[in-house]
């Protein structure tokens, strides 16, 4: 049975939640406490899978509570359920909270958010990797991206377009901004997958506040995992995103699909970044073995960790509340046949784009590209499109 802990200084809110979630009582062990200190005391006695907390509370507020929880119990999924209306408030939560929900919150919305995190937990079997991923507040970025972004933000009239491009070329920044803009806090009627739209929606003030916050901007330290190059990963991701979008265009998909293909392509290897920064020694081993034995990286990861960077990346993006289609595309980009889609999909776009870009970038990575899932392509009747897509991958040399 999963254990949940709800924290709110207003007992009426807790009772309302308790009644509303009563139907789940046989599956969930639900607990309700009226403040941060009580929550920490509870968690010291028994492990909690998901904590759902109010933000404004006397004494210890939600942000302080979740920071403490992430330190003491990193594996616990941290969700905020707050009635706060000002944007500044959410910036304080960008680090410690995985997801934010707004009061008043539909019961289904809360229930689904919780159920979704449980299904994510099943996605990643390795407990150690789970802790590692849940503890992550932000992903490291390249110093050059940092310099360019702060430089642009310091201008008298910063250009939203240039800022969007800097963000879109950076895996960590894009993931963080997507987490924020897709959170229920902003209450957008639809999910956003286009980094430019996300930046435009958040506005310069919020983006600036994010960029200046040390929580968001951690620099990547290349010395830790010397065989891993974030620069190459980012170039590969950018190229994959562009090609996935181009493929969607060639298949006459709508704009939303094209945006999602791009975002999933850009973020598909985010798990590598998590592993290379969190487990740098072990990950150096992975890369070394892949090169020496000429094995695809994901195969070596599976062998050594019992999970691949696809699982880790999907787990992180799921925790952060990114759209499901993106999480699935990232999770299955090596095994698209796990998708139920019987036609062109985000999963397929990312899978094929990843392989085609690897074919071209092999010189840098030295490890062989993972193979194309030909059986799945045949089944969906799209195998015949491969050469068109490959030609598209050759069109634009600039991106490699």
């Amino acid at each position: 049975m999963k254990t949940l802990l709800f924290v709110d200084d207003d007992p009426k809110v807790l009772q309302g939640l308790q009644r509303q979630l009563r139907t789940m009582r046989n599956e969930w062990n639900m607990n309700f406490v009226e403040g941060g200190p009580q929550a920490l005391a509870f968690m010291a006695r028994q492990p909690v899978d998901v904590i759902v907390t109010d933000m404004m509370m006397p004494g210890m507020d939600g942000s302080q509570l979740l920071s403490e929880v992430s330190r003491r119990h990193p594996q616990t999924v941290r969700i905020v359920l707050s009635g706060q209306a000002e944007r500044e408030a959410v910036l304080r939560l960008v680090g410690p909270a995985h997801q934010y929900l707004s009061k008043p919150c539909e019961a289904d919305e809360l229930r689904n958010a919780i159920i979704r995190t449980f299904s994510l937990c099943d996605l990643l079997g390795n407990e150690h990797l789970k802790n590692l991923t849940a503890r992550i507040k932000s992903l490291p970025t390249l110093p050059s991206a940092q310099t360019r972004l702060t430089g642009e933000l310091q201008k008298d009239a910063p250009s939203l377009e240039r800022i969007s491009e800097i963000v879109a070329r950076d895996i960590g920044l894009t993931a963080k901004i997507m987490q924020l803009v897709n959170s229920a806090f902003f209450g957008l009627p639809r999910q956003i997958s286009d980094p430019q739209e996300a930046v435009a929606y958040l506005g310069l003030t919020t983006v600036r506040a994010l960029a200046l916050s040390a929580e968001i901007f951690s620099q990547f330290d290349p010395r830790l995992c010397q065989l891993f190059s974030l620069d190459i990963l980012e170039r590969h991701s950018w190229a994959t995103g562009l090609l996935a979008r181009r493929m969607a265009h060639l298949e006459r998909q709508n704009n939303q699909m094209m945006d999602q293909c791009f975002l999933a392509g850009l973020l598909h290897d985010v798990g590598q970044l998590v592993l290379a920064t969190g487990l740098h020694e072990e990950y150096s081993q992975v890369i070394l073995q892949a090169r020496q034995k000429k094995q695809p990286v994901c195969q070596v990861e599976q062998e050594l960790f019992g999970a691949s960077h696809a699982d880790v990346g999907a787990y992180l993006l799921g925790l952060w509340g990114l759209p499901n289609v993106i999480v699935e595309a990232v999770a299955w980009h090596h095994q698209p046949s796990r998708s139920v889609a019987a036609q062109f999909s985000q999963v397929m776009a990312v899978h094929v784009a990843d392989v085609l870009i690897h074919e071209r970038q092999q010189v840098y990575t030295e490890a062989p590209p993972p193979g194309l899932a030909m059986a799945y392509l045949e089944k969906t009747g799209l195998a015949g499109r491969i050469e068109t897509w490959r030609a598209a991958s050759l069109e634009n040399d600039e991106v490699y």
Partner: protein
């Protein structure tokens, strides 16, 4: 150099200014006598020329407007500065003309009335602030006009000096506009801050109102099933057709429907839902009262009610750090006031109190302070006291707290206008007083005193 013409009769008028006899009469008479004796000789003419020359130099070079008028308010002589103001090339062009030839009708008539009154009574006009519009420009003048007495003791005309105070007047008006703007900005700032707090205050009960209502709705089908099975059972009892299956079915349904839980929870859920709805409507009512549009004039207001609304609206600002106690005199008379401005004052004081307590609570987590708002009648005044158990105001800061933009709060916490606005609203708009008592480490009390019978507002100039 301009040639100075000396005109006898005018010179005599000039050199024989006779101030009203009541002023140092003897001395004046002696001077007049000496001057009379001097007139007529050649030396005297030279002396006169010299005197007139001095006068002309003075008139031509003073930036102030100088003008002489006869008993019909017609110009007899003006200086260059005034000629320029009237749009004339030469001062002589004004002779024989009157204000009606230069100024709009209304203004000219006003000047004529003032001057005729002066000419009739001999009462001088001192430092009158008047607006003066001529073709294309508007000036503000400070004018002094005094009568001129002829030898026979009768008033023969007047001399006026007007100083152009347009720049000072504009600066003053700008300052007033700026102050009004600042007050508005502070109001907007606090409304913005309040809006976020109010949204939070409303979102919280809305959460459990929704949860509880959905809970009742979701429970109802199970209750209905139990009732239906009981109906069937009842019908069977009547027909003496009760079967073990029917009884078993009812028992299963009762067990499945979680009835014990529902018996307890549904009434509580409905009660809390009604409480939540009441809380939301209380906030909405308070908002309506707080955002009183505050018309142009004062109206009689129930300050107790205003304080209650303001405390409700500001609840999100204080509830995490303090409790709030209202000690309001039930028999408090209605007070003539600008309600919007008064609410603003109370809000600012409560928010300040909460911040002062917040600083204490930060050092002692887990504790809460107390804000007390009291009202009472004290003779011709009503007193409002806002007391906090906060940090108190350090001695060095005390003289400065009402100064605009003075703040000890962090950037983003306040603009240093809260108390300035309180002072301006209470003292300037209501003729009341603001004082405070403070002790470091113990807290602060702000005391507002509003008069029950304020004197009618003093008439300023125009506007």
């Amino acid at each position: 150099m301009e040639k100075i013409q000396v005109i006898d009769d005018e010179a005599s008028r000039l050199t024989l200014p006779k101030v009203p006899p009541r002023q140092e009469a003897g001395q004046q008479a002696a001077t007049a006598k000496v001057q009379k004796e001097l007139i007529g000789t050649a030396e005297n003419r030279l002396w006169l020329m010299h005197e007139n020359n001095l006068l002309q130099v003075l008139m031509d070079n003073l930036p102030d407007f100088i003008y002489f008028k006869d008993v019909h308010s017609r110009f007899t002589r003006i200086n260059k500065a005034h000629a320029r103001h009237l749009g004339l090339q030469q001062p002589e062009a004004a002779i024989g003309k009157s204000d009606a030839d230069f100024f709009p009708m209304r203004l000219a008539r006003q000047k004529l009335v003032d001057e005729q009154c002066l000419l009739a009574t001999g009462k001088p006009i001192l430092g009158l602030i008047e607006k003066s519009d001529t073709a294309g420009e508007t000036k503000w003048l400070s004018s002094t006009k005094v009568p001129i007495y002829a030898a026979d003791g009768k008033i023969s005309g007047l001399v006026g000096i007007s100083r152009d105070i347009t720049a000072a007047k504009e600066a003053e008006m700008e300052r007033q506009a700026m102050e009004a703007q600042l007050r508005q900005a502070q109001k907007l700032e606090s409304i913005g801050q309040l809006a976020a707090g109010i949204a939070h205050e409303i979102n919280t009960p809305t959460q459990y109102v929704g949860d509880n209502t959905r809970f009742v709705k979701d429970s109802f089908p199970a209750i209905m099933q139990v009732l239906k099975s009981h109906e069937d059972l009842l019908a069977a009892v009547k027909n003496q057709a009760v079967t073990p299956e029917l009884i078993a079915r009812s028992e299963v349904l009762i067990k499945e429907s979680d009835l014990e839980y529902l018996y307890v929870q549904i009434p509580t859920a409905l009660g809390e839902t009604l409480e939540g709805v009441e809380r939301v409507s209380k906030i909405v009512r308070a908002m309506k009262e707080f955002s009183h549009p505050g018309g142009k004039g004062k109206s009689l207001a129930d300050l107790n009610k205003a304080i209650e609304s303001t405390a409700t609206v500001a609840r999100n600002e204080w509830k995490y750090v303090a409790d709030l106690k209202l000690e309001l005199e039930p028999e408090l008379p209605l007070v003539p006031c600008f309600l919007g401005e008064f609410n603003q004052c109370v809000l600012n004081l409560i928010v300040n109190a909460a911040h002062a307590i917040g600083d204490v609570v930060k050092k002692n987590p887990g504790t809460k302070g107390l804000i007390t708002v009291q009202t009472r009648r004290d003779g011709d005044h009503v007193e409002v006291r806002v007391t906090d158990t906060g940090t108190g105001i350090p001695e060095s800061v005390r003289p400065k707290i009402f100064e605009p933009f003075f703040t000890t709060k962090d950037v983003g916490q306040g603009t240093g206008q809260g108390l300035t606005v309180v002072y301006a609203n209470v003292v300037k708009k209501h003729g009341g007083t603001v004082t405070f008592e403070t002790e470091l480490g113990r807290g602060t009390t702000f005391i507002l005193r509003l008069p029950l019978h304020p004197p009618p507002p003093a008439k300023g100039g125009e506007g």
